[in-house]
Symmetry: C2
Amino acid sequence: MTEQTIGQQSIQFQNAVSILSGAAIVGKKEGEGPLGDAFDMIGDDPMFGTNSWEEAESTLQKEAVGLAIAKAGLQKWQIRMIYAGDLLAQSVASSFGIADLQIPVYGLYGACSTMGEALSLGSMAVAGGYAQYVLSVTSSHFGSAEKEFRFPLGYGNQRPLSATWTVTGSGACVLGREGGKAHIAGLTTGKIVDYGLKDSQNMGACMAPAACDTIYQNFMDFNRMPEDYDKIITGDLGQVGQKILWDLLMEKGYDIRGQHMDCGIEIFDPETQDTHSGGSGCGCAASVFAAYILPKIEAGEWKRILFVPTGALMSKVSFNEGQNVPGIAHAVIVENAEKGGE
Amino acid sequence: MTEQTIGQQSIQFQNAVSILSGAAIVGKKEGEGPLGDAFDMIGDDPMFGTNSWEEAESTLQKEAVGLAIAKAGLQKWQIRMIYAGDLLAQSVASSFGIADLQIPVYGLYGACSTMGEALSLGSMAVAGGYAQYVLSVTSSHFGSAEKEFRFPLGYGNQRPLSATWTVTGSGACVLGREGGKAHIAGLTTGKIVDYGLKDSQNMGACMAPAACDTIYQNFMDFNRMPEDYDKIITGDLGQVGQKILWDLLMEKGYDIRGQHMDCGIEIFDPETQDTHSGGSGCGCAASVFAAYILPKIEAGEWKRILFVPTGALMSKVSFNEGQNVPGIAHAVIVENAEKGGE
């Protein structure tokens, strides 16, 4: 057995894990946003031809998985395990989305950080010698998430400016032992961080402390500075959470403003799409990673990035019982296969 | 990198992973059952000193984790990662139960199969060189589960005979690289298996096909017969699911009646405790494993067992929308450290 740990909370792979493909499918609103051209598929119908939002979300996962496998030039039987998750109670979008594939499955829940968790556990499986190929996938859907966490859509309640808009989308990546132009070189597993915040309409603020904790720990464990990354990319902090993250890291002596990017801020146009603080959801970080971030790393435009999906750990029940909304963030180091070490 | 796969869906560790400790805490009814003497702690108060069933369940996890770490002779900072899950929407029992520990966490959802998933991913992390020590924990609570999946307790509805009784309990295990009298030698990752059943009050029937699929695949991948295991132990099929599992495996040519045991059948006394088909829940398999199964392996009474927690993948929403209830089962091979290879 080879030691693959570094620092307190991180893993540095002896052999970096290849990202062989990424695929993303999104809804109409996301397709009309600034990243619209990057996505593999855009659905005009919010129900994606099904009878419910939950089935629609399952369809998103199924399509993203199928596309990712095809783009990697593989057949589904070659995928040894899927690491999958979503935001719905009991993760039903994943269970019903990927059942037909008949591939062994590990179900995950990390709220909107789940793509970080799925890439972490998936790459650990490949680097540990447990699989030639695995697949990581997450999804979210505006309709299913509003119903799960907030108000019935027909109620038409007014959303505060700190609220984010759940992305309708799914992103999937195939990981393997060799090949590919992008590598997962290491990761930092997140802790649950609770600053006592209780406002589920301001998830950016709830998640920013967790993002700070994981990014800071990544700097410590790998002995790096913000400049060692071309980009430090959080999942869905939005405008509100971004500022808090900057302030928190500044207090610890790190200025990441030059490197920081947030998938939730990138996916919608604040001028024309009125999503308040930005986009959110498991599908936000996953679809932006597969469609926009991964190609830039593959092309060598970015040599090394830190991808840090962020999640708010809560449910309708915990919220109604007056519990806090703690956050969690899992960081994945992704490098260009040739230029990553430069 | 060393190849650690075997067959189609299984992993055979080059270095078996040690189970250093197991701890279980349960509620009053479970404490009055046939395994009552085996549990580390029995709580008389169903609220465990808190204000809600959800907080009570979180307390169960916290106590079980603390006990397991202490029994392993470790401090909490030595645990590099926790693999945790429960049955509640957005896994809030875990999130709030283990946040205070400040240990990196991977949240899991596999319904009642989650302890199989937690032991699988935890042992993969240890054997892959990603951690010296990890911890696997799951929980369930009768009150929180009834509220989540069925009817308000005050409604007093009549339960069909095929229904199971959610166990109030939590089980936790510390895994490590060496030491301990029990080893995880390998595992078989489950697929989602859907026979088209829709009755959430008969989860045993919904899960039995998945248990059959995983056990059969384990026999194929390791080229084993039922007799190669002292016990084949499912999670919570109950009386109804057990018969279906026996029949399904018999159709494939395997008679496991001599080896089969089900945690849900063992934990309650059918004569005096009236739980209909038996016990169920994430906490059922986990607490029975930690309190009853693990000591028998450590003592050498059982040399090798197959532990197969079973889960029913559904939510209130998927059920109300008329979806099926598919199942999943994850198998873990646990051996006595000295006699396991005999």
